[in-house]
Amino acid sequence: MNLRIQIEDFDIGTECDALAGSGGHVGAIATFVGLVRGDDALIALSLEHYPGMTEREIGRHVQEAQMRWPLLGVTIIHRIGRLLPGARIVFVGVAASHRGAAFEACEFLMDYLKTRAPFWKQEERPQGIAWVEARVSDDNAAQRWRQ
C-alpha cells in the first residue's frame, strides 16, 4: 500500500508504472483521478485534514479492500491545501490479476474517500468562502458496500 496526503501534485504515469510492478502478475490497473470542477464560478477549493487520523482511517479501508478482493497493489494520493479548478485532487490506483477486482476495489475506495475520509472542504466563490456540508447522496454511494 502506498498512501500519501500531500500538497504537491502527482504524476499518473509514474504511479501506474509503480503499480504495474515487474513480476508479470498484474493484468489490470484501475485508476481514478478526481479533478476540481469549476462549477458555479468556483474560484478555489481548500482541503484540510486531520494528520495521523486521515492516514489511519484510509489505511483501514485499504486493508478492508485487500480482504475483499485479491489485490496486487493499491496507491492512494490525496492532495490538501488550496486547489484551483482543473487541478488534480485525488488518485486511486488498484492493481490486480483481473479487471473485476481492480474496478470494484477502486470504486469502493473512491466512495469511501469522497464521503467519509477525514477531510473538510472550503469553497471559494465570488460571493464568499463557505465550508462544504456533508452530502447525503455521497453517503448512499458509500453505504452500498455495507450491504
Binding site: E48, Y50, G52, M53, R56, V90, R116, F119, A134, D138
Partner: protein
C-alpha cells in the same frame, strides 16, 4: 490533554490545537464540550450546537459519552465531507 480543532471549529476558536489540563469534573467528551463552551467567545460559538459537531479520541471517532483521560488527544470538527 491535547485538543485539536478542524474546519469552522478551528476558525471560530481561532486556533488549531492547544494543551489543556483536565478539570476534575470533566470525565467525558460531553463534559469537556460544556467546559469549553463556558469559556465564552469563539468557544461558546463553536460548541453552541453539539449536533453540528463530531469528536475523536486518540484519532478514533467516538460518541460524546466517551470517557476522557489526562493524556488523551481529543479532536472536535464538523461532520467530514470527504475528499
Amino acid at each position: 490533554m491535547k485538543l485539536l480543532y478542524f474546519a469552522w471549529v478551528r476558525q471560530k476558536i481561532g486556533r488549531g490545537d492547544e494543551e489543556m489540563k483536565r478539570a476534575p469534573g470533566v470525565t467525558t467528551i460531553a463534559g469537556l464540550m460544556s467546559s469549553l463552551r463556558e469559556r465564552g467567545g469563539g468557544y461558546a460559538e463553536a460548541f453552541a450546537e453539539p449536533a453540528r459537531l463530531r469528536a475523536a479520541r486518540n484519532r478514533e471517532h467516538v460518541p460524546f459519552d466517551t470517557p476522557v483521560c489526562d493524556d488523551d488527544e481529543i479532536a472536535f470538527f464538523p461532520p467530514v465531507t470527504g475528499g
